[in-house]
Symmetry: C2
Subunit: 228 residues, 2 copies
């Protein structure tokens, strides 16, 4: 694929064009920083959106689900889907109600997903999904049994038709609002939103003496590229 | 409306039924704790999902947008929409790859949105939207001019057809995995995800001597009902 995102009709950003980012690496950065995505599909003619686990592997996005879930079935049957990952970095306080906003990084992908059937491909995708949600756990935890493997569905969606939108920095104000006569003495700025991990809460059945492993205690904070 | 959510065919939770919550107050709590929603609609036969601002006012959800945005136009024309708000509370580490999960609170609403045209109704909705995104700012910041008011679109969606799904607590393990012979000595538990506000970043044009107002410094942390 090319290094820049090549917009199609529906992936062209029209509102807030100054916030559109066409570098493919920006798409990857947003997808790699997020934890869950929102998957939209059409069921009985109406839109449905569900949150679900995902992970990126090169130029492919994997979506995780249960073979029993209607959403995964609908999305796997060759129909169009749309996936969005949004990282909220802060609230933009303006001198004018109208210019309030949020700082965010947002990626949207359109396409037709395919269900992974091949055992090795599905196993490799599950490793990527597990290590995205919980880095290091694919090797640390018990691998899926045959039954568990059969119950799990993985969809693959090419990162071919995608758009990225990013807003950062202070409010964009009207010049008039900056004058002391109007509203220039009101506070304005950004209230950054930070995501941090709390103290790990051990499972109640954990025998005494089992320490929290390093890959959990040292997990970097999510969304960490946020600039407020 | 009734105090419990009355599921319709499409708002009935089938996967993870033990996670379904039918108390209407749980719906309100999720919507009030979130900051952005994901709005899905159908455009040219294909699903589209976009993040957008929202706020709840009683039994109505307001969605905020620009009159120029295709998403708002599509959603305003009497077509079905679906809205999801998901709060991610933590990552569930299990002894088995298969039982990894996330702790979350998620609300989904289906329906047909209507655009607010009446001036007073739209102004009242904008106050609710502004104070949800940035509590206290409706009275603190400059009110919308005629032009700004005209550029802003507000959709209203009744909270009639909705579902809430919540997962909290430790991993659900297979009994076998708890034995020391199998994987009972592996660490398992929850890594809570916390949302906190950073230090307010003043707008560069701010004159010296303008303090951050109390309604910004004292803003409670979002998602605060998360239990890890």
């Amino acid at each position: 694929m090319t290094e820049t995102l090549s917009p199609t009709e529906r992936s062209t950003i029209r509102r807030g064009k100054d916030r559109a980012v066409t570098d493919r690496s920006a798409l990857y950065a947003v997808l790699d920083a997020g934890l869950i995505c929102h998957l939209a599909f059409v069921a009985n003619g109406a839109p449905v959106v569900v949150p679900t686990g995902y992970a990126r592997d090169g130029e492919v996005l994997y979506l995780h689900g249960s073979t029993g879930a209607a959403s995964l079935r609908a999305a796997a049957e060759g129909a169009e889907v749309c996936v969005n990952v949004t990282l909220l970095d802060g609230i933009v306080y303006s001198r004018a109600v109208f210019h309030h906003s949020v700082n965010y990084r947002s990626a949207t992908i359109h396409g037709v997903a395919r269900q992974l059937i091949d055992r090795d491909a599905k196993l490799a995708a599950l490793a990527v999904l597990t290590n995205h949600l919980a880095p290091g756990q694919w090797d640390y935890a018990r691998e899926p049994s045959k039954q568990e493997f059969a119950k799990t569905a993985v969809l693959a969606l090419d990162l071919a038709e995608a758009a990225v939108k990013i807003r950062s920095g202070p409010p964009g104000e009207d010049e008039d609002d900056l004058t002391p006569e109007r509203n220039g003495l009101a506070w304005a700025g950004v209230l950054p939103l930070h995501q941090t991990w709390g103290e790990p809460l051990p499972c109640p059945e954990l025998p005494s003496g089992v320490d929290v492993p390093g890959h959990v205690t040292a997990r970097p904070a999510p969304f960490r590229e946020g600039r407020g």
